[in-house]
């Protein structure tokens, strides 16, 4: 029995109830929950790497009538990623939210969001995915509105409405799929789907819903205000994990479930939108006045890179080259998750210590907050894609795949995007290292500065040097091609 | 036989509902509209309940329908009262 597969979902859910019931103990309960979730995810990843994909038919009903949980290399990798980021941001939050009331409000919602993320990564059922998307959306909105500042609430409300529309588009696709194929189980659907109008339109609806949630250009307009006005730990997770969750579904649908349905033309369309996202997002990030806004626009750009892989994957024949490109895509997504959460947390530290996050007034920050500025620099290395970060390897593969398939169009896009990224990162560092008068040394709080630093190190060093292991784990079984576990 | 009788009751109820709705749309003033709506609709509902009960031909069902009728009566009476007294106050102010 694979009942342990439920743990990454049920631990945060159960502990969120405990945090609700014992509001004064919310922080220890929350940290304990995140630690336990991390352990469960690590165990799951280890099991999957040893024994291959795992399946659990909930309630003992055959998948189709019942709901199946399913874990393979891709989902367990993302599970591990989200557990690490959530733990780091959670530890950071204990310094960020100091009033007991704030903590009591924060923790149950935070754990509910973890529940949603992990339920989404493990779900093997189309309608169940809709429910997890809604849980993710609602808990993320509630978290983004914490603090109750007018701007944050307004952004949260717009985020909520667009998120609901995205979910509805997804649900419309689910409806059509059920009408045409009579099942909701992903593995069953994979065998049933055929390239015909019902599948095309259903897929188009679901993909558009997910694109809205992933904030692909030109559907990105809601992201910068929502991410830039939320509390710092929440921004970190919104940028690092929440948009990635929708992207994960997109990837799984595109490459696995609807593999026979997608067309090269659609892949090109996604690639072109991705290219525009890279250029537009990087440009706006360069022009941003506030550090958090910069980070948010940089998310738009970084997500764009992920979409450049779609036309390449469509052109590459199945085999080693395609596997390598796929591995690069996952490496890119992971690196961005760690680097961007580090960037948001470091920004949060600066915002709290300095009282603002205006880039031009960062002077003296390097002297006052050396660890945090170092974190910014490390995260910047990963965002630009310099060695030894994981993004460097990923971009390198992106380049070579673009050249190998003759899709030269992407080469200047990647180059320009990287140059712009370098420009905005060095712009921050330039101001941060500028001398300023009256700067006093401040002993910053370890629980605030260290989580960000660790995330940045993960992004630049571990994912860079450990990429071979990741590659070997993820690519052969990433999309397990429907092997029954 | 009871079916036919039930159908007649339901047809009659339709007349009352129609009259009530037309009254709501055409009569001037809140009070007149309320008057038309509550009176006609309650009678209409009563006839409908009797008709449906006859067609259903089940005592338990008939009792349930009766309960529905009573509840709607109470609710509409109180709602009408509230609307009327509100309208009275507004009327005095303006």
């Amino acid at each position: 029995m694979n009942n342990l597969l439920t743990l990454p979902v049920m631990i945060p859910l159960g502990f969120s109830l405990l945090a609700l019931l014992w509001p004064r103990r919310a922080t220890p309960v929350g940290i304990l929950a995140l630690l336990a979730t991390l352990l469960a995810s690590a165990w799951l990843t280890w099991r999957v790497s040893g024994n291959g994909p795992m399946l659990l038919a909930l309630g003992g009903w055959e998948p189709g009538l019942g709901i199946a949980l399913y874990a393979d290399a891709l989902s367990s990798t993302l599970l591990l990623m989200s557990s690490v980021v959530a733990l780091a941001a959670g530890i950071y939050s204990t310094g960020y939210f100091r009033a007991p009331g704030d903590r009591a409000r924060f923790w149950p919602l935070w754990l509910l969001m973890m529940t949603a993320l992990h339920a989404l990564f493990l779900s093997g059922d189309l309608f169940n995915l809709y429910v997890t998307l809604e849980l993710l959306g609602l808990s993320a909105v509630a978290l983004a509105a914490l603090g109750g500042k007018r701007k944050a609430v307004e952004a949260a409300l717009r985020y909520l409405i667009l998120g609901l529309l995205g979910s509805l588009l997804f649900l419309a696709g689910v409806t059509l799929t059920y009408a045409g194929y009579g099942t909701l189980d992903l593995m069953k659907l994979r065998d049933l789907l055929a390239p015909e109008p019902v599948a095309w339109i259903a897929l188009a609806l679901m993909i558009s819903g997910l694109l809205l949630k992933t904030a692909l250009f030109p559907l990105h307009f809601w992201l910068p205000p929502a991410h830039a006005n939320a509390p710092a730990p929440v921004s970190a997770v919104l940028s690092a994990l929440v948009v990635k969750a929708a992207f994960y579904l997109l990837l799984r649908f595109w490459l696995e479930i609807f593999e026979d349905v997608v067309t090269a033309f659609a892949a090109w369309l996604l690639g072109i939108l991705g290219a525009m996202a890279v250029l537009w997002g990087s440009w706006r990030a360069l022009r941003a006045v506030r550090l958090k806004l910069l980070a948010a626009y940089s998310t738009v750009a970084q997500l764009g890179y992920l979409f450049l892989f779609f036309p390449l994957l469509a052109a590459l024949p199945a085999g080693a080259a395609r596997d390598t490109a796929l591995g690069a895509l996952i490496l890119m997504a992971l690196t961005h998750a760690f680097a961007k959460s580090a960037l948001f947390l470091a920004t949060g530290v600066i915002q709290q210590k300095a009282g603002h996050d205006r880039i031009e007034d960062l002077g003296g920050a390097a002297r006052a907050l050396p660890v945090t500025v170092f974190t910014l620099a490390l995260a910047g290395v990963a965002l630009i894609g310099l060695p030894p970060s994981g993004a460097f390897l990923a971009k390198w593969q992106l380049f070579s795949a673009a050249i190998a398939t003759g899709q030269w169009l992407w080469v200047p896009v990647i180059a320009t995007g990287s140059l712009l990224a370098a420009a905005y990162v060095f712009r921050i560092l330039g101001y941060a290292f500028a001398p300023a008068e009256g700067v006093t040394y401040r002993i910053a709080d370890g629980r605030e500065e260290l989580p960000a630093l660790i995330l940045a190190i993960l992004a630049t060093l571990l994912l860079g040097f450990g990429s071979v292991q990741l590659w070997e784990f993820v690519t052969p079984g990433a999309l397990a091609a429907g092997e029954a576990p | 036989m009871t079916d036919l009788l039930g159908a007649l009751f339901i047809l009659a109820s339709l007349g009352f509902f129609a009259a009530g709705s037309i009254g709501l749309l055409r009569l001037p003033g809140v009070h007149a509209r309320l008057h038309a709506l509550t009176k006609a609709d309650n009678v209409g509902l009563g006839l409908l309940v009797v008709g449906a009960g006859l067609i259903g031909g089940d005592l338990l069902l008939a009792l349930k329908l009766l309960l529905v009728w009573l509840l709607v009566m109470v609710a509409s009476a109180i709602a009408a009262n509230l609307i009327a007294s509100h309208a009275m106050k507004d009327g005095e102010e303006s």
Partner: protein, 94 residues
């Protein structure tokens, strides 16, 4: 039989599209919340119409259960949206 499914399925599609458009173009937040609800109702309608299998046969219970879940999710989202909107109208910190 199938005609009933088609009538409500297509109606559902239209409601879905009408709601989606209003939710994107309307300025008023309350109107957008209404629009999201109507759009959702459209999808639910299409889903329930799939389940209908004629007057004699019991309908497929799966879509019914899905829509029941959907209705609760929709009211949760509506409640949160309205609370945010209220907070927005009250907050005056900028």
């Amino acid at each position: 039989m199938i005609l009933t499914q088609l009538i409500f399925g297509i109606t559902g599609g239209l409601l879905f599209a009408i709601g989606l458009r209003s939710a994107l173009v309307r300025e008023s937040l309350l109107a957008r919340i209404l629009a999201v609800n109507i759009s959702g109702a459209g999808v639910f309608l299409a889903l329930v119409a799939i389940a209908y299998r004629g007057l004699e046969e019991t309908p497929d219970p799966i879509p019914h259960a899905l829509v029941l879940t959907g209705i609760v999710v929709a009211v949760s989202a509506t409640a949160l949206a309205l609370a945010l909107r209220r907070r927005l109208e009250e907050a005056d910190d900028e």
